[in-house]
């Protein structure tokens, strides 16, 4: 990469370091992993910068976040991080909350969760749309680019993710009062 091209790379992608780090923090389990993911992502971005079609820093944001997201996902896959999350199943996880068995709502652990814990327990595919929308401020179209799903899926996941968080928040407040 020649000097002007590298200058362009820095101008377009370095302003998004905090955004990249924030997404990595929410998609990995700890600070070390988040740092590794961000470093890998910037290196990958450098290698593939030729394929970047945008002209300004604003266009670089979803492009970089897509790479961060892929780096985080492939890292999880590599380490087979099962954690407490089941494999994401669009159909299964999209069942409306009302359909859940009432007993499930009574499980003590669920009732104690704060918003943060609730976010942690969302399937990654739900968690990422919340982070991309609420913390990174991406448009639906940009979220679709980052997560590589159609607009309708973005809208559906975002709405269902919010519904789940809202329930968790409601439970937390109930407990406080």
């Amino acid at each position: 990469m020649d000097q002007p091209e590298l200058g362009r790379f820095e101008a377009i992608l370095l302003p998004h370091l905090d955004a990249a780090y924030t997404l990595a923090r929410y998609l990995t389990d700890n600070v070390d992993d988040a740092r590794d993911v961000v470093q890998d992502a910037y290196l990958r971005a450098l290698k593939y910068f030729e394929s970047f079609r945008g002209t300004d820093a604003a266009a670089g944001r979803p492009w970089l976040l897509a790479i961060v997201r892929n780096a985080a996902f492939s890292r999880r896959k590599r380490y087979r991080i099962e954690s407490k999350l089941a494999e994401f199943d669009e159909q299964l996880h999209s069942e409306s909350v009302e359909d859940l068995h009432p007993e499930a709502e009574l499980l003590g652990a669920v009732a104690r969760e704060s918003l943060h814990q609730a976010l942690d327990q969302l399937p990654l595919e739900f968690r990422e749309v919340i982070v991309l929308r609420e913390l990174e401020g991406l448009s639906y179209k940009e979220i679709g680019e980052v997560t590589n799903v159609p607009l309708g899926t973005v809208m559906s996941r975002l709405s269902r993710a919010r519904e789940r968080l809202q329930r968790a928040l409601g439970r937390a407040e109930e407990k406080l009062t």
Binding site: D18, T22, V38, D40, K47
Partner: protein, 260 residues
């Protein structure tokens, strides 16, 4: 409209993603429908709670400076930006038919083909070493213990340095067999990541440096210092692995003073 569709509309409205006409219609509906307006209020409250409770992070200064360093080194060696095997996640895209990328990479393929057998061996050895009980034959963080251990087991005495001070402690060594000869393997650790360093005496002069290769999630680095052929294998991030390679090169040039 199902309850889900209704919430979806309200979400899109609050996110400013509804077309003007749809937004006007929804606003009208919200005035009339208490169910929908309570959804709107709950969503607004959620959004406030998220802004309040979920932090957006600031990248640590250390990460920032490491990245700047990486970019500076890319500036110095122009090839580093281009010559790299596609990482694993990209292979899907290749298979899906991004032939231009494949063809572009092909030009670089010929020289790599010669090394690919060795690359496979290094990778296999690295993965094998991660299985229980296979990592080290001699466990020591003391370079003066590890180095003599190789005496009589190899026809050379490998340079051994501990980089604990730099955050890459030496944890041991072992023997392996690569490219038809016995080689020394030094094992280092960075946080929870293990790094296998393979080395044997170089037949030719220095050179033969290659861009990092990523296979099955592991990074492989290779260079020839003139005295030794080096291969590194690790799941550590490339930035740090490259830094570590820099430390090793420094250690190698200082190698004669450790020779018995």
């Amino acid at each position: 409209m199902t309850p889900h569709d209704m919430r979806l509309q309200v979400d899109a409205y609050l996110d400013g993603e509804l077309a003007a006409q749809d937004a006007r219609e929804l606003e009208q509906h919200l005035k009339e429908c208490s169910e929908c307006s309570s959804v709107r209020d709950a969503r607004a409250a959620l959004s406030t709670a998220i802004q309040r409770e979920l932090p957006a992070f600031t990248a640590p200064e250390e990460l920032r400076s490491q990245l700047r360093e990486t970019l500076r080194s890319a500036k110095k060696s122009p090839a580093a930006g281009r010559r790299i095997a596609p990482p694993v996640w990209r292979w899907g895209a290749l298979a899906a038919g991004v032939m231009l990328v494949a063809l572009g990479g092909w030009e670089l393929g010929s020289r790599r083909a010669a090394d690919s057998a060795l690359t496979g061996q290094v990778l296999a050895s690295h993965i094998r070493s991660l299985m229980p009980g296979h990592l080290t034959d001699v466990v020591s963080s003391d370079q003066h213990t590890v180095k003599p251990w190789f005496n009589g087991k190899l026809d050379f005495s490998p340079p051994v340095s501990d980089f604990a001070g730099k955050g890459y402690p030496l944890i041991g060594g072992r023997l392996d067999y690569l490219g038809g000869r016995p080689v020394a393997v030094l094992v280092y650790q960075r946080r929870r990541h293990l790094i296998n360093v393979y080395l044997w005496p170089s037949a030719g002069g220095p050179g033969g440096e290659r861009s990092p290769v990523t296979r099955q999630g592991y990074h492989l680095l290779h260079w020839n210092s003139g005295s030794y052929v080096y291969w590194l294998a690790s799941d550590l991030g490339l930035t740090e692995l490259t830094q570590f390679a820099g430390l090793l090169r420094g250690g190698d040039s200082a190698a004669p003073q450790y020779r018995p």
